[in-house]
């Protein structure tokens, strides 16, 4: 396993952003971490990169425990894990040229001299589909899609084992998004890195991810192979999420059964008792309000769900019981 997260907890003061989350990513695997705002998905990414210190739990990167490593001890490991951010406008230093931005990690880790770095940067830019003359440009001279290619080039130049991508295509227009998604797919196949792909957009992970984990209020409610999650979502929240995302086909869209959830996402300061989803779940019964369901796998292996209603011979249907 490249990444193993065990019972991760991250509280910001009273806010229980991540509250007991376990997941793992294998070699060359793309895991889509899906959730709505406030679910804690970005916090997971920040903990993996140690941009923030976990409150408790364990994070192992390529077998090594990095949960509480000091900044200094963490530094050499930063070669192995890199991040791609959502906003290509604010995540690139506006005073650096593209060559400096992409080459900086090489110099930083003492991997290449300034002269050697030039050649590697040129090769990397070509790999992400940017013309050589882009090297001397500044970020403000580039379009959003080009900037995101620069972000990818910078993240990948050290050939990391793991890439954490937090909504990397959400700020892009559809046509640009398509080319960046194709690029990520190509690079992942060529370079073989593992990827934690954090997004709210289900169609993007359906396209890209091998496996999906769905988060709600700091916990994973369901995870499994992408095709299985889409074909047979088991948790009522996953079912609602899938049914709420409109499809770009008016005939199909208008015939779909939608599960409209009542209320709002509760505050992560004071998450509901029992199952955290019970306040919005159309199927909730007494046990859901008092006892918290564990993430278990009563049916097939590799598709665990945290719901009292999922048993070896029953899968709830949130659309039916309304």
């Amino acid at each position: 396993m490249i990444l193993e997260i065990d019972n991760l907890v991250k509280h910001y003061g009273q806010v229980r952003a991540v509250d007991g989350l376990s997941l793992s990513i294998g070699q060359g695997e793309v895991l889509g971490l899906v959730g709505e705002s406030g679910s804690g998905k970005s916090t997971v990414g920040k903990c993996v990169l140690r941009l923030t210190e976990p409150t408790s739990g364990g994070i192992r990167l390529d077998g090594r425990d990095i949960t509480h490593l000091s900044r200094r001890a963490m530094r050499p490991l930063r070669r192995d894990v890199h991040m791609v951010f959502q906003d290509p406008y604010s995540s690139l230093n506006p005073r650096f040229t593209i060559e400096q931005i992409v080459g900086e990690p090489l110099l930083h880790h003492g991997i290449a001299s300034r002269r050697e770095a030039g050649g590697r940067v040129a090769a990397m830019l070509e790999q992400v589909g940017l013309r050589p003359e882009m090297r001397s440009r500044f970020p403000h001279e580039l379009s959003g899609g080009q900037r995101q290619r620069v972000g990818l080039a910078r993240a990948l130049i050290l050939e990391p084992k793991l890439v954490v991508a937090d909504e990397p295509v959400s700020a892009l227009d559809v046509s640009v998004q398509a080319s960046v998604l194709n690029l990520i797919t190509d690079l992942q196949r060529e370079m073989g890195f593992s990827c934690l792909f954090i997004t709210h957009d289900l169609s993007v992970v359906e396209f890209l991810a091998d496996r999906i984990a769905v988060m709600y209020l700091g916990r994973i409610v369901e995870s499994g192979p992408t095709a299985q999650i889409f074909a047979e979502p088991r948790h009522p929240y996953t079912q609602a999420l899938l049914s709420a995302a409109p499809v770009a086909d008016p005939v199909r869209q208008r015939e779909r059964r939608r599960i409209v959830l009542g209320g709002d996402v509760p505050s992560p300061v004071d998450p509901p008792s029992g199952c955290r989803f019970h306040t919005r779940c159309p199927l909730a019964y007494d046990a859901c309000r008092t006892s918290e369901p564990a993430l278990t796998d009563p049916r097939t292996s590799g598709h665990p769900v945290a719901c009292h209603l999922v048993t070896a011979d029953h899968v709830p249907d949130a659309a039916q019981n309304r």
């Binding site: 797919t185 169609s203 396209f207 770009a248 869209q253 939608r258 409209v260 709002d264």
Partner: protein, 322 residues
């Protein structure tokens, strides 16, 4: 006669770089109780077109020509004092970001009653009662309590509902909604779209919905206009548009969606949008178009009826899905 008629509208902005031609001659009609989607990618002119109606563009730098008629009355030449009576009463707007468009230092109730007292001359008490009704109409639970709260006490979805309540307070003929669900989670988005549908059904409000999301268009719009580089390139009833897109740009947008992937690849639209500063006599899409021929480079195609004749496209080589 249509409720709203826009004829040959052009909008230019004075900028440091020169005259930006945001809208380059668009004509469209909006019927009573119709939901019309204006769609396209960033910079296509969809927001500028819609914001020309309530004249919410910066007066110092905007040069506008063409005609905008509401109920047969020309709006572009009305004095500002008359326009102020129309804004918020006959035409109102819901913006994308509900947090920045509500005033943080006034209660929700105050912000709704303000419009009612100004435009309808209601007493304090009558306005308060009406505000509670409006919050109920847009699906806010416990409205009598909510009107005493401040925007920061509400969730994003609830704030957007408050914005809609303010916008429909005076039963406008036309509601302009600029990416109203883009900042919201999908499970919340579905509920907000239901509010628009409901307003149309119950009050007969006509809606101009500005969106980049084809899923939202498919879900709620009656008719859609696809814009590119300041012009309408295609216009049709929604089911017809999705069943038989004629313009290669529309088709490109549909094929670029992650859900339209073929064999693990997305169809990209190569190239970039043309400069907004120049307007050569050619099809603005020709440089990116696979169907482009000599005629596309020597003159500009006009929006013309296809079969059926309520389907318009501006293309010399219109086609079906390929």
């Amino acid at each position: 006669m249509s409720l709203l008629e826009i004829t040959d509208l052009t909008v230019d902005f004075d900028t440091e770089d020169g005259l930006v031609q945001a809208v380059r001659g668009i004509s469209l009609e909006l019927g009573e109780g119709e939901i019309l989607a204006l769609c396209g990618e960033s910079g296509c002119g969809k927001s500028v077109t819609a914001m020309s109606v309530p004249r919410l563009l910066p007066p110092d730098t905007t040069r506008l020509s063409g005609s905008i008629k509401l109920d047969g009355r020309e709006l572009t030449t009305l004095p500002e004092s008359r326009m102020r009576q129309i804004r918020g009463k006959d035409v109102s707007v819901v913006f994308q970001e509900p947090m920045t468009s509500l005033n943080p230092s006034f209660t929700v109730g105050y912000q709704i009653t303000e419009v009612l007292r100004r435009h309808e001359g209601l007493s304090r008490r009558a306005a308060r009662d009406r505000a509670v009704e409006l919050l109920e109409l847009v699906g806010i639970p416990l409205p009598a309590r909510r009107i005493k709260e401040y925007p920061h006490q509400l969730s994003g979805g609830m704030r957007q509902r408050v914005m809609i309540a303010i916008a429909v307070a005076c039963s406008p003929r036309v509601l302009i909604a600029d990416e109203p669900t883009t900042a919201l989670d999908v499970t919340i988005q579905a509920g907000v779209l239901d509010v628009f549908r409901d307003l149309r059904d119950r009050l007969g409000t006509a809606v101009i919905l500005i969106t980049h999301d084809l899923g939202v268009v498919a879900d709620i719009a009656d008719r859609a206009v696809v814009m590119y580089a300041g012009r309408a390139v295609e216009q049709a009833p929604v089911t017809e548009l999705f069943a038989r897109p004629r313009h290669p740009y529309t088709l490109g947008l549909m094929n670029a969606l992650p859900s339209a992937a073929v064999n693990g690849r997305l169809a990209e639209i190569p190239g970039m949008v043309p400069s907004p500063l120049t307007d050569p006599d050619e099809c603005a899409f020709q440089a990116r178009c696979t169907r482009a021929q000599d005629d596309c480079r020597s003159k500009r195609p006009q929006l013309e009826p296809q079969l059926p004749d309520d389907h318009l496209a501006a293309c010399f080589h219109p086609g079906g899905r390929s």
